[in-house]
Amino acid sequence: MEAVRSHLIAVEVAAAERHIEEARRADMLIVLGEVLNNIVEHALSDAPEGWIDCAVSLVERDLSIETCDNGAPLPPTLVSSAALPDVGAEVETLPEGGWGWFIVHSLTDDMTYERRDGMNRLCFSLKGNPAAFPATDLRTPRGVSAR
């Protein structure tokens, strides 16, 4: 999780250098944080040799994200949609988690998931209608180690 944090900080710096507007940068970091932490906490929880490869690309107006990891498969139902956990009436019954995938789906489009050769590959693009950016490849540092 420390590795995810430092990766997000690096992506944030890279995005700022490419003049991606602040609100869009924030959405990207929120989504990336949820996706990467999910991989670390679920897919790679029993994987001592776990790795995540993460690429963010900015092509014309589309910010797209691709992650690849060698962890356990993603439950297929999470790829299409995720529900918001119930907000209980009482403090005692409030959820303490379960928002991650709901947040991801709220901020992204076109999610595709592929399981091949013992690896997960997840692709999606960020929602929104950003101002025109110059086409540029925003490759982030490759190979975030899981631990």
Partner: protein, 113 residues
């Protein structure tokens, strides 16, 4: 996770002295919260002014922190930045915490020193 403490009347004010309340910080935050709120019976407010990133684990830690307050007290959050605000609104948890744009003791014109 550094959580500084001050009291203003019956408000226990906890300031997160870090920029991120994320999965890496969640556990330490909960421990600090438990320690800080154990003997306080009044309002508890967290100054989020320095926090520029919150993820679902951090949000879970805030909820866990609220559950540590007995008597059904609601946790109050002040000065949430754009990312914190967005995560709270997306998850509808903005209806669960009591939110303040400013620190209430500042708004009351009291000396915060």
């Amino acid at each position: 996770m550094e959580l500084s403490r001050a009291t203003y009347g019956d408000i226990l004010a906890l300031t997160i002295e870090e920029e991120r309340l994320d999965a890496a910080a969640a556990l330490a935050f909960k421990e600090e919260m438990r320690d800080a709120t154990a003997s306080h019976r009044g309002r508890v407010l967290i100054d989020m002014g320095r926090v520029n990133f919150l993820d679902s684990s951090g949000l879970g830690a805030l909820v866990a922190g609220m559950k540590m307050l007995d008597g059904g007290r609601r946790l109050e959050l002040a000065r949430c930045g754009p990312v914190v605000d967005k995560v709270l609104r997306l998850t509808r948890m903005d209806t669960v915490f009591i939110l303040h744009a400013e620190r209430p003791w500042m708004a009351d014109g009291q000396d915060a020193a």
